[in-house]
Amino acid sequence: MEKPKIIDNTIMIPSSQDFLPDVDVFLEGVLRGLGVDESTIADIAISVSELVNNAIFHGNKTARDKTIKVEINKVNGSVKISVTDEGGGFDLNDVENPIDDDNLLKEVGRGLFIVQSLMDSVDKNTTDTGTTVVITKDI
């Protein structure tokens, strides 16, 4: 796949940061259509950008021929978003605490912490074909 592909409530992109804006435009459009307020849209957009960046670099190791899929669903009073890559996964808890004094000036390592801070739930599932992180946010 050389360019983003949208099917209903799902966007698929090659593993490149070039397509982060495509994901953002798609995501924010769907969320506005669901009536989500702008502040919550920003929190979700920040979180999804973190997960897509993780998928590009840590999941698919920037292999452009590998795909990242972002799927958005409304479930009762929440928005549920899954971000799937083709990698072997990671441990959600195996991350240094970025707010420890020793880590404050590190340039990286805040992504998952931010997602966990902004979202109501963060779950991960790894299978033979890849890893899916699912976030939910009450709306």
Binding site: Q17, D18, L20, P21, D24, S39, A42, A45, I46, S49, E50, N53, P98, I99, L104, L105, K106, E107, V108, G109, R110, G111, F113, I114, S117, L118
Partner: protein
């Protein structure tokens, strides 16, 4: 993301606009910041009034600029934080790292 930059007296003022989420756009801010530091500019203000939001990549760029300029005996300050960026700095405790001002004028005065 777009980026405007200007020099007022000996102070560099960078004004990114949009969302800082990673990729080529974010590199623009990083590269411009480090270009000025290489020119031995020691006073930098980043005006964040037009930044809708940023993620950890944006925060990493700010930290990279801050530490590099401090190592050159300079200072980087922030101005006009939007509510969303302020919230992110609070969550990540980076409010304790950056000097932030409510206006460009206040940030400029703080250098004098």
């Amino acid at each position: 993301m777009k980026l405007n930059d200007r020099v007022q007296d000996d102070i560099v003022i960078l004004e990114p606009k949009g969302k800082i989420m990673g990729g080529p756009d974010a590199s623009l801010l990083h590269d411009k910041l480090h270009d000025y530091i290489e020119q031995d500019m020691k006073k930098v203000i980043i005006d964040l009034s037009k930044v809708d939001w940023m993620n950890s990549t944006g925060l990493g760029i700010l930290i990279s600029g801050l530490t590099t300029i401090r190592n050159n005996n300079g200072e980087l300050k922030l101005a006009n934080l939007t509510k969303k960026v302020q919230s992110l700095l609070t969550i990540t405790k980076l409010v304790s790292v950056f000097e932030a001002y409510d206006s460009i004028d206040e940030a400029i005065k703080s250098f004098k």
